[in-house]
Amino acid sequence: MSGPDVPVLFELAGVTKTYGSVTALDNLSIRVPPGATGLLGPNGSGKTTMIRTLLGLIRPDKGGGTVFGMDILRRQLDIRRQIGFSPEDECLFPGVQGIEFVAYAGELVGMPSTDAMQRAHEVLDYAGLGEVRYRKVESYSSGMKQRLKLAAAIVHDPKLLILDEPTNGMDPAGREDMLRLACDLANNKGMSVLFSSHLLPDVEAVCGHIVVLAGGRLLVQGGIRELKQAHAGSFELRLKSEDEDFARRISGLGCDVQIRGDMLLVKIPPGQTAALLWRQAAEANYQIRHLRPQRSTLEEVFLKAVEQT
């Protein structure tokens, strides 16, 4: 994802940022294409610092970068006009109704007040808060506040939406709604999304591309599909009946077998193919219900990347 012809949403080059003895970003270089990108990393990995750097809120000690081709050191305000940001922490404009909250967010970006109000109604409907738009925001539940922040972030129709832990504190239904909204914006509305989260299934549900940070450095970057590559000679196998006998049978043929619940993870010997498993099942009169090449989960990709540090 680093070729010169690939369109770039944002790019950081050798960015280093330290706070006293803490190095938040360590010579970070990264190019991210438009679309939905998941930002992963353990606590203190530099995710928030990277987001703030992109927003031009942080002046790096070293290095630089661009967002939409605009220099993060010189055109911070122009960059922020085109970004919608939903912060991780619970933060509100005090003493306002939901509709005023979103309209105010639009005005702060520079929308005319009538447009901001009209647009606030639209995005609140979109975020599923239309029924509570006239309630004071202090009375909103955590999930409603997250959706309110999302509505405030998209009120000016940004090109890039940054969601920092958007499903924090949400119940399963609310989380589902939030992911559906993020997915819709990323896939159907042409909005690029940078989705920072600890919840890998959430990232996987929304994003097609991930960036993994740890210790302020880039560990892994790429499309989720590519990163979850098929393991050569490894298969997931599920049988209709008891599978321990079958496991013993194929182990005797040199296969490495692990039982995971009702699934067998089988690594066949070099030079063999899946035909070996079909043949053995037929001979022993086992019925195969599921057989496919084993792929890494996102969790495995993440853990493997983090273990490297």
Binding site: Y19, V22, A24, T48, T49, R52, L55, L57, I58, R59, Q76, L77, D78, R80, R81, I83, F85, P87, D89, E90, C91, L92, F93, P94, G95, V96, E100, Y104, A105, E107, L108, V109, G110, M111, P112, S113, D115, R119, E122, V123, D125, Y126, G128, G130, E138, A152, I154, H156, D157, D184, L185, K189
Partner: protein, 386 residues
Amino acid sequence: MPIMEQGYQHWSGRLSGHSWRWLAITRHGVRIQLRNRFLRYVLFAAWTPALLLVGMLSIWGLLERKSNLVATFVEFMRFMNPNVIADPRYYRVEIWRLSYGYFMHVELFFSMILILLVGPGLISQDLRVNALPLYFSRPLRRVDYFLGKLGVISFFLGMVTILPTLIAYLFGLLFSLNLHVAVQTFGILVGTLLYGLIICLSAGTLMLALSALSRNSRYVALFWLGLWFVSSVISSVLAGVHHEEIRHAYFYNRPPAQIGAANPQGVATEPGDRMTSGLPQDGMANARQYWRNFQLQRLRDSQTDWRPMVSYTANLLRIGAHLLGTNQAWEKLAKLEPDTWRRERLLTRYAGPRYPWYWSAAVLAGLFGLSLCVLKWSIRSLDRLK
């Protein structure tokens, strides 16, 4: 789910530039504050002195034109020196100065109340609900944030100082029907507007700094009351103590004979000089003269007395007196009094503090600088670890 759910629509409008972005914060803040019914009552009450100012300038304009319409009002102006009523044009500037001076004096009181109602929550509430990331992740600089918040305070102070000043000025001109009035009084208008701006800037910044020091707006309100009342009380106590020191030095530390020797000519006694009542009879006449000298001494002393500067509002009043020229106005009116003693007594009673205005300017500038430092320190940028 609305019946006509349209889903997400793109917006194709244009965003405004950065220069006036702070105005969005001000507009929003004013809208929110105006929901406070008590604030609306105070605002309404604060316009009453403005009506009096408009009335006074209009009446004076009619008086200059010797209009019959004001014959009734002249009866109510007997408290003024008859010479002033007899030649209103000659004393026009002084009357305007004093009218504006009294008006701003009262409005300063209302301004303090308005700031108390509007200001405490401006930043402290944002700190409490962690709103700063919402502001600073948008195309806003810290200075825009401060300006926007200051704009909220300035709006309300402007409504009770600057707006009435302009309206009253227009009425004054309209009723005088004399362009020369504009030439003569334009400086007063500029001075009053400048004074209003100084109040907005100084008190507004100070309140914002206090508001940035706590997440609890009640504490901020208490800080403000403390700054306003306690500093005034301390200043009054210090002034009272100093006054007593001078009085003792004049009356009680010298024997009556010495008082008489100090003033061999003697003068006619003044009935009602309360301060002489405790003195021995034989020294009474000279003591009264001494009392007058004491008043003169107080007047002279007020030119170097720093004690009023302890009070925050007294500093604003001193700047106001300088900008509006109220002390000069009193000096001119005092010349109408028949003798020096009465002139000085009038000045002592009515003219404000006479120490150099730039002392107060220095105090206010210091507070302004301190406020900016507090704001800079309290409202940090997001360039930090969480």
